[in-house]
């Protein structure tokens, strides 16, 4: 359309930008910077009491335990941004890990490529199951994935018949995936970082990502803008399933042993990481990078408490405190922002009424 406007060729009218007060204000605005600072602070505290924390093998341990949670958290973050939730992630990891390992057990010199294909394929398929229930049958995600959590886990248990597939029957090449190092770091960590960047890009720079944010913050506006909720919500569950399948394969490689009950509490860890990473549980805001940082923060917390010799029983409670602390802080931020926008809306209302008179 051509909208020729003689005489309005100037710049858009400008309001003075609201001054952001000091460094603290700026950090509050970019959540990820705050998270990095918290992470560094955490590392400093742990190192001060237990210098062992900074030693190579320990750091590598932390990084490896963060990676698997991190990769699943990337998908979960997108799901939660779209105002949905996926509780079945741990079950998908278990089932795809088990099926991939079972194939390897019988094809000892089978190609690793096929293993990944099986793992990711199974994950994608199970994700599609969630998609069908949530997007097509319109069952609320929390109920649908609670159901599939049980079904997928049950399926894994039935197929495994209570047995373990252990390192002794799996080819060495499979386990080498987890031990391989590239450019001085573990391959797994590189994969996680690459995926984080990739998903950050999907969320920020693709149409699909934009649609997810729109659906998460205002489903009705999204509908009026012609965004298909069925297609996008289905897409996000399938993507989450795919990542879980990938993690299933990596899980087997890292731990060497696969049975039906691995990744039992993974959904709790993943959702915690996502929420601590600043993704709003009500959808529409937060970032994939935040979720990844959340996963790292959790890994450091866990490792740090171990190093400091804190009773294992306290660990769970401390993680709970971390979650509640983070969420309370975000709620505080959100409320502050809301007060501000309500104040502005009130002023605008006054002005518009004034103008109507």
């Amino acid at each position: 359309m051509t909208l020729s406007e003689p005489g309005t060729a100037g710049r858009p009218s400008r309001q003075r930008p609201r001054a952001v007060r000091g460094l603290v204000g700026r950090i509050l605005q970019v959540r990820e910077i705050g998270l990095v600072l918290i992470l560094l602070l955490l590392c400093a505290i742990v190192t001060a009491r237990a210098p062992r924390f900074l030693e190579g093998p320990n750091l590598q341990q932390v990084a490896l335990s963060a990676t698997l949670v991190c990769i699943v958290a990337l998908g979960e973050a997108l799901v939660i941004i779209a105002r949905q939730i996926d509780l079945s992630v741990g079950a998908i990891v278990a089932l795809s890990a088990f099926l991939a390992a079972a194939w390897l057990e019988h094809h000892h010199d089978g190609s690793l490529f096929v293993v990944f294909l099986i793992g990711c394929g199974v994950g994608t398929l199970l994700g599609a199951g969630n998609a069908l229930l949530v997007a097509a049958a319109r069952i609320p995600a929390i109920v649908a994935t609670l159901g599939t959590l049980a079904i997928y886990r049950g399926l894994a248990i039935v197929l495994a018949e209570g047995r373990q597939i252990s390192a002794t029957v799996l080819p060495v090449s499979y386990q080498e995936v987890a031990q391989a190092r590239v450019a001085g770091g573990p391959l797994l960590v590189w994969i996680a970082m690459l995926l984080t960047v990739c998903f950050g890009w999907i969320a920020r720079s693709t149409r699909f990502g934009r649609n997810l944010y729109a659906l998460g913050s205002s489903p009705e506006s999204a509908r009026f803008a012609g965004i298909s909720d069925v297609r996008n919500i289905a897409g996000v569950f399938i993507l989450s399933g795919f990542l879980c399948g990938l993690v299933g394969v990596l899980w087997g490689a890292r731990f060497g042993t696969v049975d039906a009950v691995i990744a039992r509490d993974l959904h709790f860890q993943v959702i915690s990481a996502v929420v601590v990473g600043g993704v709003s549980i009500f959808g529409g805001s937060g970032s994939v990078y935040g979720a990844a940082l959340g996963a790292v923060i959790f890994a450091v917390l866990q490792n740090g408490m171990l190093l400091l010799g804190i009773n294992q029983f306290w660990l769970e409670a401390a993680l709970g405190v971390a979650i509640l602390g983070a969420v309370t802080f975000y709620v505080f931020l959100a409320r502050r922002a809301e007060r501000e926008s309500r104040r502005q809306a009130m002023l605008a209302r006054g002005a518009s009424l004034a103008a109507d008179r």
Binding site: R14, A225, G284, A348
Partner: protein
Amino acid sequence: MRTGTPVIELQGITKRFGPVEVLTDIDLSLDAGRVHSLAGENGAGKSTLVKILGGIYQPDGGRIVRNGEPIRIHGAADARHHGIAVIHQHPALFPDLSVAENIFVGRQPRRLGRVDWAAMRQEARGLLAGLRVDIDVRLPVKMLGLAERQTIEVAKALSLSARVLVMDEPTSAISKEEATRLFEIVETLKRQGVAILFISHFIEEILHLGDDVTILRSARRVVTAPAAELTPESTVRYMVGRELEALFPKEVAPIGQAVLEVRHLSGCGFVEDVSFELRTGEILGFFGLVGAGRSEVAQMLFGIERPDGGEIRVDGRPVRVGSPGDAMQLGISLLPEDRHQQGLVLEFPIRANATLPILGRFCRGPGLVDRAREARTAGDYAERMRVVATGIEQQTGTLSGGNQQKVLLAKWLLPSPRILILDQPTRGIDVGAKAEIHRIISRVATQGMAIILISDDVPEVAGMADRILVFRTGRVVAEFSREAADHEAMVLAAAHTPPDPDVAGRDEG
């Protein structure tokens, strides 16, 4: 209490929002056993008055007198304490609780510490019987219609021994039969000595039900008179006033051939047999009261709602509009009525809101958005719409209403529609922004866009539209050409049902 004694009197009530007076020096007396009707156009101050009586707003000047003593009403609970109950158009009841529980919520009769269900139901039945209505008190409220829910609100108010009942547009969303039943309840309440403030857009109701009528216009009380002394015509004249505005810079646009033809369209439960034709360069006004079916027609044209019958033709070809995506393919844009819920994603920056429907156009490869091109286009449109902001990355929710509306307009002009439907494009925004939006609408019409303009604002429709359709209860009841568009005639057509021979005899009020 004797009929006619004032229960609540408002004396010189004034209310300001910032620099604006939304109520100026209002006097109003609510008398025992009498119905006082309150009328006025949108924005005249009716709902502010209701909120003051309900304790939601505090007046900035004047006083409220109850039984001769000045009182202050601090919040809804305090209003109840003073015997004032407000019946809203859409009562806020608990859908899953039973009728009896809803009436007694928070104060259930108890025996030995547990809820005495039998006594509660018994009392609820008694209350409803007193209103001469027959509703099973054990039914969950979600099974009931809107009119019955209002009745339950009334019963609840009575059980709280309300002496003043404020009914805020109770009839605008219910059927004629239901309204008749509601009026019977009002008669019963009158006999019990309740003072009633009745607010409605429908002129025959105002005059038929009210003993006294007060008419507000632009925050002021223009008249209070016994209903018998008013006619529909004089009522409209008081509501509308004499001011004629020439605010609207409508440019002359050449009107071409028909792009959109709608024949016998029906749907959404009450829209029936709507037919019209829209031509290039034409602005077609849809005027009517809220709930008259205008937005529903717009939403059927845009694929949000499915029509039950009728035909839509674009360029002479019959089309099926199954989704907003289909509508956009056909070159239709809809600027929806509720800019917060339906129009904008308030968390998004201006840029992302403006480009949301057409994001595909900026995509390369696997759906990758070309940010630079997107920002250029959005910035370009924001500039043309004269959006006042720190830049296109400012969060949309922090803009003023007028600027949000300009972003919304940019959003729906960006797809380059051939048919643009605007649902209340200037509601609640300041005069400056309003004038700019009118200027833009007028400009795109001269470029050949076909426009439907839905509005409650008579001067706006009369000033902008080439032709005006008036809607009432889901039908088109009148059509005016630009030259013949008479302010009072339009309001009368939208708000007044010409006397029906069957009902005309009914005259007990």
